[in-house]
């Protein structure tokens, strides 16, 4: 009787957490900054709710396996998003297309080549020196 009561309490807690995470997933606005990472965080709550449900259903080994596997999934998804789609945070994805009509829009890689220490352009510029002229007012 006591075991059944504990099991049912665990299942009800899990159900409550699942509903809360479902509402959070749907209502989190896409306009927010880093909304994808927020959703991955909410799915973490759902994962823990599933683990509690598995314990409540008596599947302790399955709960243990999923407890170990769930963070790997979340990290893999976040890593894939950062490397391929996160334009907000990953500077490597912010590639500007060069526009010939606008001299102020230049590709980042070209600037890096120009600023490189071994750059031929920079060596050519070393031939010139800057002199300070003193202008005296009469």
């Amino acid at each position: 009787m006591v075991v059944e009561l504990i099991q049912s309490i665990l299942l009800l807690i899990a159900a409550f957490m699942v509903i809360v995470s479902a509402v959070g997933l749907v209502t989190l606005s896409s306009d927010r900054k880093n909304a994808v990472y927020g959703r991955i965080h909410i799915v973490g709550i759902f994962d823990i709710a599933c683990i509690i449900a598995m314990i409540g259903l008596g599947q302790y080994l399955l709960a243990g396996i999923y407890f170990i596997l769930a963070p790997f999934t979340a990290h893999a998804i976040a890593n894939a998003f950062y490397k391929s789609e996160d334009v907000e945070n990953n500077a490597e994805l912010n590639v500007v297309e060069e526009d010939d009509s606008n001299p102020f829009i230049v590709n980042k890689s070209k600037i890096q080549v120009l600023e490189d220490k071994d750059s031929e352009k920079l060596k050519a510029d070393d031939r010139f020196t800057i002199s300070m002229l003193d202008i005296e007012e009469e």
Partner: protein, 87 residues
Amino acid sequence: MDILLISKYILIIALVIMMFAALRVSAYKTTSMGLLGSSVVVVAFAVALLAFGDLYNLTFYRDISLALIFFGFVGTVAFAVVAGGDK
């Protein structure tokens, strides 16, 4: 009525709601959101199968849910590694 029975039904209903929410999430524009939504659907379905099998004493449902959780994890990680690129 038994409270354990009621709580199992409540859990199944909550998991079905979560599956619909995950389907909505997987419709967002980025590929990672589709990946996240599909992994949530798989896990919710596996736990719902566990609860359903517990209700009607279907022991092979446990094996199906174990396979779903394990291979769902493998598929999600494999897709994420491919989507992330070589860098």
